[in-house]
């Protein structure tokens, strides 16, 4: 049973239509906002930047990253870019996943409820014939849509830049085997989806933070602050007993899709972890939001 039963007494079909309408307007609101477009633009610039730098550095035939890169400095897959442009997609995702991508998600998720509250529009939203539970689900769905859009932005920008600057064709997996370019494209898509799914847990956490306050800025800062804290905790070796429970623990597992055969264990573990975070903080957000006095 949901809020809809009380706030809207129409037939179920109409209720679904109302939810869909709300979702559509939510998506339009998110993706038409100038801030969102700027965030996506910045994300799209990252692969271009990496691609140009690697291209300049390897222009004389030396391996990527110069002599110092032998130890594997820089983000994952950096060294392989000069082999095949498709690796720029993976490098760009590996470079943006630790902070950049979740940062943008934190901004969007943190703003989801608190932004409406601080703009004074939340009460009008609640007048719509959709219950609070559904409103929250719609907010989460549009945040997830942003996760996917942000990831695909990085991936597509990396794909185009890589194709322009570097050779295409067969590519070598990190296991040393060779796969066709079409197979590589398929894996790039899977990787983008895996990265987008990696952000689901943090998106739920951001949404929960967003229900705690009436200030959009405070919610964004809170979500991003949590992200930074978790990522710092992740680098402290003494805390390795805690690490498996942090939402970013399996983030790099998307790279396992470039093994041959694919190593699914960590990818599944990541999905389980993200599902747990989504359920935990989704239900916490619901508990908070459904019982809250909306005064703004």
């Amino acid at each position: 049973m949901s809020q809809g039963d009380i706030t809207f007494a129409g037939p179920p079909g109409a209720r679904a239509a109302a939810t869909l309408g709300l979702l559509r307007s939510e998506l339009g609101l998110t993706f038409r906002r100038l801030r969102t477009l700027v965030l996506l633009g910045v994300l799209a610039a990252v692969p271009v930047l990496i691609g140009v730098v690697v291209r300049i550095e390897t222009g004389d035939g030396s391996p990527a990253g110069g002599p110092g890169a032998a130890g594997g400095g820089g983000p994952a897959f950096m060294a392989q870019i000069s082999n095949n442009g498709l690796f720029l997609v993976f490098t760009a995702l590996a470079a943006t996943l630790p902070f950049f991508l979740p940062l943008t998600v934190g901004v969007v998720a943190g703003d989801a409820v608190a932004g409406e509250a601080s703009a004074g529009t939340l009460r009008y939203l609640l007048v719509a014939p959709v219950g609070r539970t559904r409103l929250l689900l719609v907010k989460y769905a549009s945040t997830l849509a942003f996760c996917l859009a942000a990831t695909l932005t990085v991936a597509v920008s990396g794909l185009v830049t890589g194709a322009l600057l570097f050779p295409a064709g067969e590519l070598t997996t990190i296991s040393g085997t060779t796969i066709e370019y079409s197979e590589g494209l398929w894996r790039a898509l899977l990787i983008a989806l895996a990265v987008a799914a990696s952000l689901a847990g943090f998106a739920a956490l951001g949404l929960f933070v967003s229900t705690l306050t009436n200030s959009g800025i405070a919610a964004m800062a809170g979500a991003v602050g949590l992200l930074v804290t978790v990522q710092i905790l992740n680098t402290i070796p003494q805390l390795d007993a805690v690490h498996p429970y942090l939402f970013s623990y399996h983030w790099l597992s998307f790279a396992d899709l470039m093994r041959e055969p694919v190593l699914w264990d960590n990818l599944y573990a990541n999905l389980r972890l993200q599902g747990f975070y989504a359920l935990l903080f989704g239900s916490a957000a619901w508990a908070r939001f459904a019982g809250r006095d909306i005064s703004a």
């Binding site: 082999n83 219950g131 070598t172 040393g176 085997t177 935990l280 019982g291």
Partner: protein, 419 residues
């Protein structure tokens, strides 16, 4: 403004206070957390389905089973955990390891240095084999992989992190023999560094004589396969090796798991076993390697010119038996028999351990070295004992090195007996 919700979840129980309802709502996330915690706690316990029931066999039969095993095709995933108790992993390991003699190789993809990483920590490995000609061993890392691929006469090593490859023709490939044994993809592993259960088991069985007790100790389930457990224990005192346990597939005799526990107790020193194993033929493409356009390829011939061949690896103590051949390096002598044998290496360096006193090293480095070891004196003069959980080494000030998988007292006794 009053909250909008009035009766959801409580089915018309209108008397409940708003506070009550709020508590009920917060019970949902708490329940989610509780279920997750229970799952984490219970699933491993439930998954442990107990040891399989298998007909009893003797140790002799089991060893024969291993020897008769001609499983040619195999692929699987292994986990190897090594805890030698070295003070600081990489640096100290290098100082004990034979690689120190070799100098730095010219390629990040050269196998020897990579395999040294296995000496500490936990690693996930993938192995695949298809007959004597095709083997592959991969060390899985975060977003990177290091693979050694043998396909016919070609041996490739590929380091995806640095995108560098290493190529050798069979002649240069080191110990690629053991044809027909099936699962020896790590043909290029330095000697004394066995990396699959099979190879580890071979070493141990070679050591089985009157100093060793070999028994069958029940059954186990490894990577979903039913297995017998072979238990190998040193009989005499003085060895740091407590026991060695090898799980052998009950069906085809392939060793699936190897565990070496120190006599001092605690966590195993080496724990290597399959987490997944498949005895079907691996895809042919698994063994094909073609360097990409930008991949830096180092040929083995070039490397050999750069680095003179050092003595074969012998620092690792699996049974301490490797020295017995006496052919590893000049100046190596073995004192004692069986598990408590101690190798003596005369380095010829009269200064012994570089220490803060000798002035060869900056004082800080000398102090660091000193802090790893204990100063000792005896009939052999004075020296420094470096201890790990498995190997103890004594470096005397007159340049002799005593190494063995024996405790410190046995080591000092052996050193004294030489004077």
């Amino acid at each position: 403004m009053a909250p909008y919700e009035s009766a959801q979840r409580t089915e018309g129980d209108e008397d409940r206070s708003a506070g009550r309802r709020r508590v009920t709502r917060y019970a949902v996330p708490v329940a989610v957390a509780g279920v997750a915690a229970l799952t984490i706690g219970l699933v491993p316990a439930l998954a442990d389905s107990g040891d399989p029931d298998l007909p009893k066999i003797s140790a002799q039969q089991l060893i024969e089973k291993i020897a008769a095993s001609d499983q040619q095709q195999l692929s699987g995933q292994m986990k190897i955990s090594t805890d030698l108790g070295l003070p600081s992993l990489a640096g100290a390991a290098a100082s004990f390891a034979p690689k120190g003699v070799d100098g730095e190789g010219g390629s990040a993809a050269a196998p020897d240095e990579k395999l040294m990483e296995l000496v500490s920590g936990t690693h996930t490995l993938r192995v695949a084999a298809d007959g004597p000609d095709k083997q592959k061993l991969s060390i899985l890392d975060d977003a990177a992989e290091y693979s050694i691929i043998r396909n016919g006469s070609d041996v490739w090593a590929y380091d995806s992190k640095s995108d560098e490859a290493f190529h050798a023709e069979d002649g240069h490939a080191g110990k690629d023999g053991h044809a027909g044994k099936g699962e020896k993809p790590e043909g290029k592993a330095p000697e004394g560094m066995p990396t699959t259960p099979k190879e580890l088991a071979d070493e141990v069985l070679k050591a089985a004589d009157e100093t060793t007790s070999v028994t069958v100790d029940g059954t186990a389930s490894v990577a979903g396969r039913d297995a017998y457990q072979l238990l190998v224990e040193p009989k005499g005192p003085g060895s740091t090796v407590g026991s060695i346990r090898i799980a052998v597939d009950a069906e085809n005799g392939v060793p699936l798991k190897f565990t070496l526990s120190p006599s001092s107790g605690g966590k195993p020193v080496v724990d290597a076993g399959f987490t997944k194993v498949d005895f079907a033929k691996p895809a042919a493409s698994t063994f094909e390697f073609k360097p990409g356009k930008g991949t830096k390829v180092t040929e083995a011939d070039e490397l050999e010119k750069q680095a003179p061949k050092g003595p074969k690896g012998d620092a690792l103590p699996f049974g301490g038996k490797l020295h017995k051949d006496g052919k590893n390096a000049e100046g190596v002598k073995v004192i004692g028999e069986g598990w408590s044998s101690v190798a003596v290496i005369d380095t010829g360096a009269k200064d012994g351990v570089p220490s803060s006193k000798s002035g060869e090293l900056p004082p800080e480095a000398g102090q660091l070295l000193d802090s790893f070891g204990d100063k000792v004196t005896g009939k052999f003069g004075s020296g420094t004992v470096f201890s790990t959980r498995l190997v103890n080494a004594l470096m005397t000030d007159d340049g002799k090195v005593y190494v063995g998988a024996v405790d410190k007292a046995t080591l000092l006794k052996a050193a004294n007996s030489q004077q």
